[in-house]
Homo-oligomer: 478 residues x 2
């Protein structure tokens, strides 16, 4: 029995958004399931997107003085338990190594769910003086959290991420770092992933286990559900004290440094799929697309076509654009469907008639627009069209976000708006966790963030009627 | 009690090579021990060296069509056991995850010691046709092998590496890939790490568990012990059959692909330390040095010195050279010792008198040579001096290698040469494992490789006197 690879249709997003999402993950060859339940494989195309993301983020981190390190992946249970809140937050999700070779270990070791404990333990040994501060560290690695239900990119037992960990001489410096890194994420989402975000602070209920404050960038997907994009945490000196991290200060006395951490994960690939994808598949922002331009020769068997396509390949590649040509013997229809499925921003078609006219046709993936472009203008037009796709994706996502933020004065109203339109529902809030629980129970929404940009929608909490402290965003979250 | 950081002396390599090595690892701030026994932390400076290595190797892999992926870190025991030889080779060293959260797992999961099994399992699901071959995959990750005794970089329970895994339509293509990647490693060692290597094949006894053939690049350290640099394996279709990886061939029948794997690790940093280091610390080849040029202002408090140093910093940085300036208030002696310890290839000293003369002094780390360089010639001289250091390191290591390869006709002679000079001892060999065991027992040497470049030293095996099949290299290995 011969095995052959087929092009298959994906489910429409209007019919079943969850299935549409999973279909894209697999048909665009981003991920595949592994033999271990809840684990996924990042395939070459998915990993290439991640590599492009990493390269851009890593460059930004380094510009502000951050350096990369590698911490051990296993954490002794006793070390993990030194800070009570953190371990309580993560213990139910930890994978434990209990055997090394044929020997039972004396103390079981946690596969890192996050590495605050390891960084603190390290700093407790290497930090001496205020002169060495700040220490601005980051690591790229995978972590494990033993989730019960999983979905590719969004919730996976193992996921790939970067975790930044820093210590500072003063609380103010650490707070400024927390903010700086949140803004770094916001810029990355908006300028690189073309996804507009809402910046804000998490409530006490939703903040990171052990943090004094957690900041977040929140975005909306095409089904108008909310997705937490990336987070940045301020710890004060809580972990420093728990792990005995000290330094000699300017006053020649021992002090505790102030700490931050901040993380972003492969879940951002999920965000890109759900923020930009359509019923023909993935739509990639040019800045992270592994292939930015695909050249598809028309009637490639005719004299001169293949040669011209190869010439254009070299020419466009010389612009620093990631370009490929599809010389396979598949049909024109198959090729177009395939490269659309993979979200390639621009498709360049070149055939005998185009060559005669010294032109080609360029098709934009984001809106289907076709442009006849003179071959003499390619060097100018290709970068411009890539910019146009990048901007077009952002503009469409921004319009959708702006149209899906609704103000409500009561839980009932909030619930009705969510049911009718989805999106973020903004209300005033007293700051009490009981009201968060009530909103969750009655309207099915969790608090997303207390936006930095506050509006005064009224005087009283939409949930309990008592005096309001903040405006807050609610949503149904991934 | 105030904590202050001090510059400390390291042990001389002639006094205690092992201690000298460990001293450099820690005093140059490359690694630090972790709370988990046998695990190490790659500190910023050590990790920056690894990042430079990664970037160069990854670029080379991609030039020949390889793509990166990410496979799950945990492997179900049943999957690991499908190929008997591999699991027998690695089982004693596997770390096992037996609990997820508070639940005991039904099947224990191995922290990957190597990922052949995961790649095969994945390919068994995604490979269809010969048109999709070859699949040329690589991943950068960490692995765990539960070693009993550990040393930084050389033998650590967790280490960082790349593992390439490929499948091909024919045996010939897979063999060519195995060779190509071995040559890629050899080039990397010689051109980037400035370490000359001997290329060859491992004996049956020393080959990778489950491989049909293992190829290796072997090098010599400054104590004249041997170090296995990197290896490349040919598997035939053994794993394909064990994991049922099939494709429809050109003849429309199901076939098994042919497989390779190849790996290199952070142990290469250990090789650099021991191939180039001296009693003042680390000596780094410029191509992988995180800082290639350190500017040290002399009498920086005098007018114009700091400004000039900053000007040179900008000028040299614009050449694409990794340059830093040390404006700390440490003494000149402390600074020089510190940057020597860290192996910075060039130190540029600039003081008031230099500025008057429109010149500076550049000191080479590898041989201590000082050159007065006109500031007008910096743009030419800096790249030239960096090339000179790179070449100088290679030449010195090559000379030492050439002077430490000795031919022997008997075990006794081999033993005597090893005891007197160290290095590689070459002999003729019958190909029998019994003779390898005898050489190990009587002369304390293991077989390093059967070099590609064969010489006919005689007719008979140096160990047993029977007819010889190969010339083989012996050594005391790390």
């Amino acid at each position: 029995m011969a095995k052959e690879k087929k092009v298959e249709q994906i489910t429409d997003m209007e019919t079943d958004f969850a299935q549409w999402y999973t279909d894209i993950c697999r048909k665009a060859e981003l991920v595949e399931y592994a033999s271990v339940k809840g684990f996924t494989i990042l395939r070459p195309y998915g990993y290439a997107i991640w590599e492009n993301m990493q390269q851009i983020m890593d460059g930004e981190f380094k510009k502000t003085g951050h350096v990369n390190v590698a911490m051990p992946v296993l954490i002794p249970e006793s070390l993990l338990k030194k800070e009570g809140e953190l371990v309580n937050g993560f213990a139910p999700e930890v994978a434990w190594v209990t055997m090394g070779g044929s020997e039972e270990l004396e103390e079981r070791l946690a596969f890192r769910p996050t590495s605050e404990t390891m960084f603190c333990d390290h700093w407790s040994r290497v930090l001496h003086s205020y002169r060495e501060l700040p220490m601005l560290y980051n690591q790229w690695c995978s972590v494990i959290r033993w989730e019960k239900t999983t979905r590719p990119f969004l919730r996976s037992r193992e996921f790939w991420w970067q975790e930044g960990h820093t210590i500072h001489e003063t609380a103010e410096e650490a707070q400024a770092e927390t903010e700086q890194q949140l803004n770094c994420y916001a810029d990355f989402f908006e300028k690189t992933l073309a996804i507009p975000v809402v910046r804000g602070r998490k409530t006490e209920k939703e903040k990171f286990a052990g943090a004094e404050a957690t900041y977040t960038v929140e975005c909306l997907m095409k089904d108008h559900k909310a997705l937490q994009g990336a987070t940045s945490h301020y710890f004060g000196d809580k972990f420093s004290r728990a792990y005995d991290v000290t330094f000699t200060g300017r006053d020649n006395k021992l002090q505790y440094p102030f700490q931050t951490s901040w993380g972003s994960t492969t879940r951002m690939i999920g965000a890109v799929i759900m923020a930009h994808g359509d019923n023909n598949g993935l739509v990639l922002p040019p800045k992270i697309a592994p292939v930015q331009v695909i050249i598809v020769p028309v009637a490639a068997h005719k004299p001169g076509v293949k040669e011209k396509a190869e010439e254009l390949l070299a020419q466009i590649s010389a612009l620093g654009v990631r370009v490929q040509a599809d010389f396979s013997d598949n049909s024109m229809g198959w090729k177009c469907a395939q490269h659309e499925m993979k979200g390639v921003p621009l498709r360049l078609e070149i055939g005998p008639r185009d060559i005669e006219n010294n032109s080609c046709v360029i098709v934009r993936r984001d809106n289907g627009e076709k442009t006849a472009v003179s071959l003499d203008e390619l060097d100018v037009q290709i970068p411009q069209l890539l910019d146009a796709v990048q901007q077009g994706l952002y503009d469409a996502a921004k319009k959708s976000l702006d149209e899906h933020i609704f103000a409500a004065g009561s839980i009932e109203e909030a619930k009705k708006l969510q049911e009718e339109h989805g999106g973020f529902i903004k209300t005033m809030w007293c700051g009490d966790e009981a009201c968060e629980l009530k909103m969750k129970e009655e309207a099915g929404m969790s608090s997303r963030c207390i936006p930095f940009h506050q509006e005064k929608l009224g005087e009283t909490c939409a949930c309990c009627g008592r005096p309001a402290k903040h405006m807050i965003y609610w949503g149904i979250a991934y």
